[in-house]
Amino acid sequence: MTGVHTAEVDPPWEGLAGAELFAACLRAAREGNKQGMNRLVSELTPLVWNVARGQGLDTHAAEDVVQTVWLALFSHLDQVREPKALAGWLVTTARHESQRVHGRKAPPVPLTDEMAETVPSTLPAPEAEVLRTERDRRIWSAFAQLPQRCQELLRMTVLAGRAEYRVVAEALRMPRGSIGPNRGRCLKTMRELLDIEGGSA
């Protein structure tokens, strides 16, 4: 089979964004369009990466998870019954695979104050980074001190987008209505940490 493609014609996902874009790329990929596949990989790898990192994996393990998830998707493109649900499928699969790699099961418990225990951080030390503004460094530092569950939720919120509440809720197995309050609590904690970090300066 030759991979014929007509460069003159705009790809069917031209001008689309978000879930619509992913759905169009996925449909194209199902028809053997490698460009559609590559576009999905470049668009959504940051999301899959953040799910794995949010589960506390080190960078090497997270990279393996990213590759495994993509190969799993393209080996079984028909698994994603509803193309618009692709982001959710990726999050759920990446989460499952991360937990498998981690050799432990993260229980689907809601965020509570008792969960504010310190999880050994696998995040790169902020000191290792150069040329960051002081504020960014403080935000990163506060984020790294959050309970893992908060870090995971916030990573997904910023990566999957606010529009995809449903994706986050289903992937984290949280009731949809509890995402907002939980997120608010995580942000409140983060603001307190930022205040401590920033001192009265």
């Binding site: 940051p46 080190d58 080996s75 960014d136 606010r162 942000l187």
Partner: protein, 159 residues
């Protein structure tokens, strides 16, 4: 990307702006590793994507990959184990491999921008590939099974 949107007032807009900052900060401090998208795309260039993905098996501590220049790397998937030993030979390396369970299976080693080399494992499951270029590498093992043919691939790794 939106900057500072119109103030909606109260905690909600504070949350929005903190989330916007956080999105930027996460992307800055913990981005996917350089080349990861390309490695995934390379792994997906396989002719037949009906594959099982073997997982990198870490012996002991995490982060063994940094010592990938030499020594043994193990990948596993369900009942199959693929072990490879790398020996540097100038700009290339020799790959000594071992499949468990053993069998005369076809083994292909794909290297980005260098095509691929193929061989067949012996009855003991051993195979050798000389002068394999270094670079982004993926190993593909094909074996017959009850349903015809089964293909196992490793993630694309920089060897």
């Amino acid at each position: 990307m939106r900057e500072h949107g119109a103030p909606e007032g109260g905690a909600q807009s504070d949350d929005e702006s903190l989330l916007a900052d956080l999105g930027r900060v996460i992307a800055t401090f913990d981005p996917p590793p350089p080349g990861l998208v390309e490695r995934v795309q390379f792994a997906l260039e396989l002719e037949n994507l009906d594959v099982e993905v073997a997982r990198w098996e870490r012996a002991g501590l995490a982060g063994v990959r940094s010592a990938v220049d030499q020594g043994t790397i193990t990948f596993t998937v369900s009942d199959l184990t693929v072990m490879i030993n790398l020996t540097k030979t100038g700009r290339c390396h020799r790959i000594d491999g071992w499949l468990v369970p053993a069998g005369r299976y076809e083994v292909e080693v794909r290297v980005a921008e260098h095509g691929s080399s193929a061989t067949t494992a012996d009855e003991g499951g051993r195979f050798v590939l000389d002068d394999v270029p270094r670079g982004t590498t993926q190993i593909v093992v094909s074996m017959p099974d009850a349903l015809g043919r089964r293909t196992v691939v490793t993630p694309a790794v920089v060897l």
